[in-house]
Symmetry: C2
Subunit: 346 residues, 2 copies
């Protein structure tokens, strides 16, 4: 237990900052002390809604002795700069996934937080869904027999509504489109379930989005442990989220309702995990608990600050997930299978 709430400041005050702030309000382990965004309108609205102070500048926020950590939800390509400044100011860092848009930024972020001795936590929340937690527990106790393969999908149609004033429109800011925004969750979850990725091959298409980025992506992964995995992700269809894991003794089918994605206090209630056991085609429901993935990952961040321990998803885990995305992008561009070590060595 945390004796005293950890005081955080929200930075980059778009839709996702509010989703995370709502999660913080459901916890007694953190509280929002301050906020900052370049938009005066955004910071005033955020301050009113969450009852926190407004910093007069990002530099001012980082000088505030009350602030122990920052919650970064700026665009993907604008993670490194505020994080490097925060680390240099001795502030702990929670950043939404992906850790960055580029491997070089990701490595700089991880290095700076280590060198400056601050906690770095990255918001790969999907592994905390009750369905994924239960799959992990069943795999760990050998409940599927030997694991054979896994399939995942995370898709929605928000790519159809993009406009050039949004950062997700641009390849330079959000390379891979749904790969870096959605599939990156599954890249982390598959690593969590089956271990590191060895190689990736992918196909991507730009079919219906007006934006620069691809809106339909499919990626195959060879895991170090031998299994094959599939990750599908698009920004053009109706919402979908699933994780299937096939084993020699049983298969698991986990589906979560995408429409509750930003309501992490409710999504587990709108999830379904089924098991198909040896010789049967019946899919029997497995009862899931009710968690709150955003609250829990933020509480993990708070406990790491108080306890000086490493978060479940820190720099190395987030770099591994981003490397899968970049391996997929390179594979789709070249038509070759790409080894992860090639991306990690770049």
């Amino acid at each position: 237990m945390v004796s005293e709430s950890v005081r955080v400041a929200s930075v980059g005050l778009g839709r996702w900052a509010k989703t995370l702030a709502d999660a913080i309000q459901r916890s007694d382990r953190l509280r929002i002390a301050s906020c900052f965004s370049r938009s005066e309108k955004s910071r005033e609205a955020f301050s009113r809604q969450y009852g926190c102070r407004i910093a007069d500048s990002y530099a001012g926020l980082l000088k505030d002795p009350e602030v122990e950590g920052v919650i970064i939800t700026t665009p993907n390509d604008a993670h490194a700069d505020p994080i490097l400044h925060a680390a240099a100011s001795g502030k702990h860092v929670y950043v939404d996934k992906p850790i960055a848009h580029a491997m070089a930024d990701a490595r700089a972020i991880d290095r700076a937080c280590r060198d400056d001795g601050v906690i770095l936590a990255v918001g790969h929340s999907a592994r905390r869904l009750q369905g994924n937690r239960k799959i992990k527990a069943i795999l760990d106790r050998g409940g599927l027999g030997k694991p054979v393969m896994a399939e995942c999908n995370f898709s929605h149609n928000r790519g159809l509504e993009l406009s050039p004033d949004q950062w997700r429109w641009h390849k330079s800011k959000s390379p891979g489109g749904p790969l870096i925004q959605l599939a990156v969750h599954h890249a982390d979850t598959l690593h969590y379930l089956l271990g590191p990725v060895k190689a990736a091959t992918a196909m991507t298409k730009r079919l219906y989005t007006p934006a620069e980025i691809e809106d339909v992506t499919m990626t195959l992964l060879e895991m170090e442990s031998g299994q094959l995995c599939y990750m599908g992700s698009n920004w053009a269809s109706q919402g979908s989220f699933y994780t299937y894991v096939y084993g020699t003794d049983a298969n698991l089918y986990f589906t979560a309702d995408f429409n509750f994605w930003s309501r992490s206090d409710l999504i587990d209630r709108h999830s379904r995990l089924e098991i198909q056991c040896r010789g049967s085609s019946d899919r029997k429901p497995i009862t899931l608990g009710e968690g709150d993935m955003f609250r829990e990952e933020l509480e993990d961040f708070a406990e790491c600050i108080r306890g000086r321990r490493k978060p479940e998803v820190g720099g190395p885990e987030a770099i591994a997930a981003l490397a899968v995305v970049h391996a997929a992008i390179r594979s789709a561009e070249t038509g070759h299978t790409v080894a992860l070590k090639e991306i990690l060595a770049d």
Copy 2:
């Protein structure tokens, strides 16, 4: 309607010959007049079970004026020889999928049947499942909006029990393992739903089977029409069969119970098709009729013989599906995306 039953002879009398003979017994459009296999025990048992004559040799069977067509269920690598002889004898040909193990054999089969003026029908039955028929009807009337991508899986664990005396053990007879035996169905169904395949990229692994062949395969397809498709297929996990199609207006999720695969008179009752419409996460069941995929494809064969028309799945369709399998095999071997035209031009 067929005025008089078409008289066929079953050739290669293993498990699948009986599955098809059971389907013929459910129809008044065909009847089994004769049978042949190299095994005396098999042909006597088959003759007793289905009340047909036994030919003293394959040459003798082909000289029998009562026999109008042959039903070939010999091993994949032993399709060409009996088919070329049948065509030269003026007998029509139904052959189980895949059309052959190799592209050269497939082309020889197609050419011989054309040159000799006999019907060639190939048993790509999966497109006749009521779920796939309904998906096609919904796609054709624009019920999904613009199609985005599709995902399929067809898996079971029979690769774990193979022994060297079985042809499926050997790469030379059944290259690709589950790719050529199971995924080839989805290759045909995806072509049926979305049109021809442009390119394939794949990963395959030999994880748990004692046989020579790979037992875990994943393939991505780029369709000529632009969509991406995924086909998963393994011979190591619990049985699975699904076809998912994602569109801008709705997604369709079709699952069939693998344990009823050889009972085509029952499988549609053990199938589920659900639609998820715009803005909702509810999956509403769509009522499916009850068909009988094996009976129907054999009746199509019979009607083609009487009506001198082309079967729904003949040489060109079956060659296209086999080419997808060989593109996937080559991609997995080389680590490159493979254009279908490269395989078709070999």
